[in-house]
Symmetry: C2
Subunit: 230 residues, 2 copies
DNA sequence: CCAAAAGTGTTTATAATACACCCATGG
DNA sequence: CCATGGGTGTATTATAAACACTTTTGG
C-alpha cells in the first residue's frame, strides 16, 4: 500500500492474534467459555480463547479455526468487536489482538473437547479474574451483543431449535441484565413475525405448560426494530 | 499471552497499518479527504490516508498522528470501524489494516497542509475510484457514522461553532442520504436540549434569516435517542 | 387451594409522521 | 408580489410502558 510515501521496511511487524468472547446460554444463564491458566505468571486466572493469525488466513478464518478446535462447531455466528493495540498490553512481545464475539449453542457443542482444552463455562453473573485486558474485551463484546440483540431477535444462535417464550425472555434478560415485562416482551417478539408456534408444549418449567416456538427459516426482520431499548 | 499453548515463534508477524476515513462537511455536502496516487500501479486512483503503527504507539495514537500531519488538527473525533485482514489485500506484503473514521471541521483545518500532501476533499455524492478495498472501508465507516448520528446529535465535530438548523438538517440529510422533514427534524433536535439559540441570524441562506444555534457545552444527551431511523 | 408461569387485554403516555399554514424579505 | 426557507401547529398513527386479570395444573 502507499502509506504517505513511507517505505515498508522502516516499520515493524507485530504478532496478530484473535481473542474470542464465546457466549452460550444454559439454565437461564448467559455464559462465557473461558480458558484456565495453569501456570505462572497469572496462574489461576482465566483468559479468552485465542490464537495467532496464520499466514494464509484472515482473522475471521483464524477465529473460526479456533472455535472449531475448541467446540467442534462450524458455522458459528461471529462478529468483530474491536482491536486492542496498546504497545504494552502483552508482556511477552507486541501483540495486536482482534476481538470477536461468538454465539454458541451449548446443546450442540462438543463438551469433551472443551474439557480437554481446559476450558470452562462461566456464568456472566459471576465471572472469575481475567488476565491482562480480557475483562475489558468481555465488556465491549457484551455491548456489541446488546446492540445486535436490540436490533434483531437473537436466539437461533443460542437457544435450542425449539424453545418457550419464557426461555427467550430469560435469554434477553440475561443479555440486557435487567428484567423485562412478560406481556410486553411477548407482544413485541411475536409482532416481529419471525417465530412459529409449534403444537407441542414444554411442561417442565410450568404447571400449565408453554408452547414451543421455533424460528421461521429465512425470516429475518426486514428493518431494524428495537426490541429492547438500551 | 497464552494462545492455547502455542509458541510465539511458530507464528508470523505482519505490518499493522491504520487507514482513516476522514469526513468533513462543507457547502451542504458530506466530504471525504482522499489522497491521490500519482504513480503506478493504480496511478490516478485515490486512497484513504494511512500509515503504519509505530513501535511505541497504539493504533489510536497512530491515527491521531496521521490526522495531525495532514490536517494540522488535534483533538479530533475518532472511532474504530473494523479491521481488514485478508491475506492478499495488499499486493506488496501482508498488511493488517485498522480502519478509523474521523470527523473534521473543515473550517478549522489547515488547507495548505492538505494540499501539500496531495490530498483533496471529495463529495460523498461523487466519489472517485479507490485502490484496493478502500471503497468497502468507506462504506463501513459511513454505516458506523450513521449509527452514531442516529443515537446522538453529531454536528459539533463537523459544523462551525454556530450554525442554523437548515445547516444541521442538511448535514443529517448528507449522512443518511435521504431527505428529512423540516418541522419534524426541528422538533426532534430541539427536544434533545443540547442546542442553544443565539441572538444572531444568518441571512445569507434565506430571505427571512435563520437563528444561529450552538451546542451547549457538556450537554450530551443522557440516553441513546433515535434521531433518524436507519 | 395455592403458587407460578402462561397468556390476553386495557389504559396511558410518548414518539413518529405527514402536512398545513403563516411569516419575512430580497430581488 | 412571489419564491424560498423559517418557524409553528395539529391530526393521525404507531409504539412503549405499566399493569390488571384470567387460565392452567402439579403438588
Amino acid at each position: 500500500m502507499f502509506y504517505m510515501g513511507e517505505k515498508y521496511n522502516k516499520f515493524s511487524k507485530y504478532f496478530v492474534a484473535v481473542d474470542c468472547v464465546i457466549f452460550g446460554y444454559e439454565d437461564g444463564d448467559l455464559k462465557l467459555l473461558l480458558y484456565h491458566r495453569g501456570f505462572e505468571p497469572a496462574k489461576g486466572m482465566w483468559s479468552l480463547m485465542g490464537g495467532f493469525v496464520g499466514e494464509k488466513e484472515s482473522s475471521d478464518t483464524a477465529a473460526r479455526r479456533i472455535l472449531k478446535n475448541i467446540t467442534g462447531l462450524e458455522d458459528i455466528f461471529l462478529e468483530q468487536v474491536e482491536v486492542f493495540t496498546e504497545p504494552e498490553r502483552d508482556t511477552e512481545d507486541r501483540v495486536v489482538s482482534i476481538i470477536y464475539y461468538a454465539l454458541i449453542r451449548i446443546d450442540k457443542h462438543n463438551s469433551d473437547k472443551v474439557r480437554e482444552n481446559g476450558a470452562h463455562w462461566w456464568s456472566m453473573k459471576s465471572l472469575p479474574d481475567f488476565i491482562f485486558d480480557h475483562k475489558e474485551m468481555v465488556n465491549k463484546a457484551l455491548e456489541k451483543l446488546q446492540l445486535k440483540a436490540g436490533m434483531e431477535l437473537v436466539g437461533s444462535e443460542l437457544l435450542p431449535d425449539k424453545f418457550t417464550l419464557l426461555q427467550l425472555r430469560r435469554l434477553y434478560e440475561a443479555i440486557f441484565q435487567k428484567e423485562l415485562d412478560t406481556g410486553n416482551f411477548r407482544k413485541k417478539v411475536l409482532s416481529l413475525k419471525v417465530l412459529q408456534r409449534l403444537d407441542e408444549k414444554n411442561t417442565t418449567e410450568s404447571r400449565r405448560g408453554a408452547y414451543y416456538f421455533k424460528f421461521i427459516e429465512g425470516a429475518k426482520e426486514k428493518s431494524f426494530d428495537r426490541i429492547v431499548k438500551i
